[in-house]
Amino acid sequence: MSAATRLRAAGAASSTDEVVAGRRRRNRHRAIVTVAIAGAVLLVFAVTLMVGQTWYSPDQVVRVLLGERVPGASFTVGELRLPRAVLGVLAGFAFGIAGVTFQTILRNPLASPDIIGISAGASAFAVLGIVLLSLSGAAVSAIALGGAVLTAAAIYLLANRRGFAGTRLILIGIGVAAVLQSVISYALSKAAEWDLQTAMQWISGSLNGATWGQILPLALATAVLVPVLLAHGRRLGVLQLGDDAAAALGVRVRTTRIVAILAAVALLAFATAASGPIAFVAFMSGPIVARLAGPGGSLLLPAGLFGALLVLVADLVGQFAFDSRYPVGVITGVLGAPYLVLLLIRANRSGGSL
């Protein structure tokens, strides 16, 4: 071995160690952030079960969860607070993971399904189904799914003139969202009895009156679709490098994109059918988690967890922080709107290419 090769081998070995160290550091950071968010979800979940008009101790809550009969608590915690908290977690997770899937594939934080009208599509069809066709239960989920898929297809076809991603898709999506909002308003105005709670749910999302019957379709969809999305995490990471680079790395670009988008749209539709389109959760989770977890890894799981956290916290705030109670979507809407304005200002400053 010549001196030069030896030197080189030593150099290569040390740089291998550095690569390992850097990678491990970034992975550990991402893991810590993910675990911390998951811990926060558990904590807020527990708090949601304990607080309310009546305070129940952790001991009483645990006994209810284990199936014991506790006078008072069994009804309040078991029948009211538990479904509410479970719906919050599932819907928040669905919005978070679906949002970051869209943002990753379309390479734009504005391209989240609640901004480009997909949530509004699910919501509009659900309301039409309830008001005009008197649907309920799983049928509402089904028609919401149909609405979300149709909306996504319409936006795709309208935007797919020259190339797929881009500002055009977002602008068309915002237009489609506006149309669908008016459809929701129209349908609500046709409702037989004017129910403010219901109206609020379909406009901005709410966990009020959550029932197990509402949760079941969403829970099943989560069990099927979340693994599908998580299995695509690494491929989505490669897709971020551009279609040509991804294809050269052996990713089937079109299949990956269609499967991931469809899974995200379906998950979003089931969540919307259960809780209404909780404002801006899909939009905010991904970018916030990207900042916390750092770049380079898949954001799907942490974004889902963050969505769940956001919904639980916002619901607590909406219920107890003010004199009157507000649905969760009003609180997330107040949080999300300034962020949207900020993004638009920043996009404009950088020359309009979003």
Binding site: R234, Q240, L241, G242, G296
Partner: protein, 266 residues
């Protein structure tokens, strides 16, 4: 490295919409050598490279890898043999150099398999070979254009393919960085025996760095061979529609094309 893999185009016809760009073109890529594809704008050279990389499907004919049609092989398996540096890849915001280079390992990884020791070694070797080992933890978007191009080449190296295709790897680089990139590719070819096929705009750099020059005109191979044998005023006239003088490059001994414009000519 074992016997080099063979890439060839057999009577391929390529086009976009109803426009034909490449018409029944045959090309055998010389294994273990550096091939430069040159030609005027719109002659089909980039389209040809895209087809070789299976990014566009031929209308007729086939791209063959070791004699077997690319279309009939699984994409992931092709990606272990055939790498591509596209013209404008996108670096995700804030991504670290080592992580971006690590994406080059994708075709070697299974769905649930952990990142292996060999993956890390391939990334480290790619960083080392491109001279960016000290940038491993830096964010790609903080780097200069020349450094960034090295990162992308490092990603393609980490893919550990026998054949590497590059679509204008020197665009947007200043002259020093252009030479640097081409020297790097030459090292790679000589040390690892990697077959390199690149589209180059600069005829003189192509003449200097390529073992084999492929001049494309109107979607066909107009001339092919060692630069010294192929490049002549007639070829430049036919392929670029430009009058020129061809002399011997005093630095490299390869042909040097001196264009005859309308102005500043003695």
């Amino acid at each position: 490295m074992t016997e080099s893999r063979r890439l060839a185009a057999s009577a391929v016809t390529l086009g976009y919409g109803d426009r034909l760009v490449v018409d029944a073109l045959d090309l055998d890529v010389a294994p273990g050598r550096i091939t430069a594809i040159v030609g005027a704008n719109g002659c089909g050279k980039s389209t040809l490279l895209k087809a070789l990389a299976r990014l566009i499907a031929p209308r007729a004919g086939e791209i063959l890898l070791d004699g077997k049609a690319l279309a009939k092989q699984p994409s992931r398996e092709i990606a272990r043999v055939l790498g591509l540096l596209p013209q404008s890849p996108i670096a995700p915001e804030g991504i670290a150099v080592a992580d971006l280079v690590g994406r080059g390992r994708h075709p070697h990884q299974r769905l649930l398999a952990r990142w292996s020791r060999h993956d890390t070694e391939a990334v480290a070797a790619a960083l080392e070979a491109t001279g960016i080992a000290d940038l491993a933890d830096r964010a790609v978007d903080e780097l200069s254009g020349g450094q960034r191009q090295r990162v992308w080449i490092a990603m393609a190296l980490a893919q550990e393919t026998d054949i590497l295709l590059l679509d204008e790897p020197t665009t947007f680089l200043d002259v020093a960085h252009q030479i640097e990139v081409l020297d790097l590719l030459t090292d790679l070819n000589r040390e690892r025996g990697t077959t390199i096929v690149m589209v180059l705009h600069d005829l003189n750099l192509a003449a200097r760095y390529a073992d084999e020059l492929v001049a494309v005109r109107d979607g066909r191979v107009h001339a092919k061979g060692a630069p010294a044998e192929v490049i002549s005023p007639e070829l430049v006239e036919a392929v670029f529609g430009l009058a020129s003088l061809v002399i011997e490059d005093p630095v490299s001994g390869s042909p040097l094309v001196l264009p005859n414009g309308r102005h500043h000519v003695r």
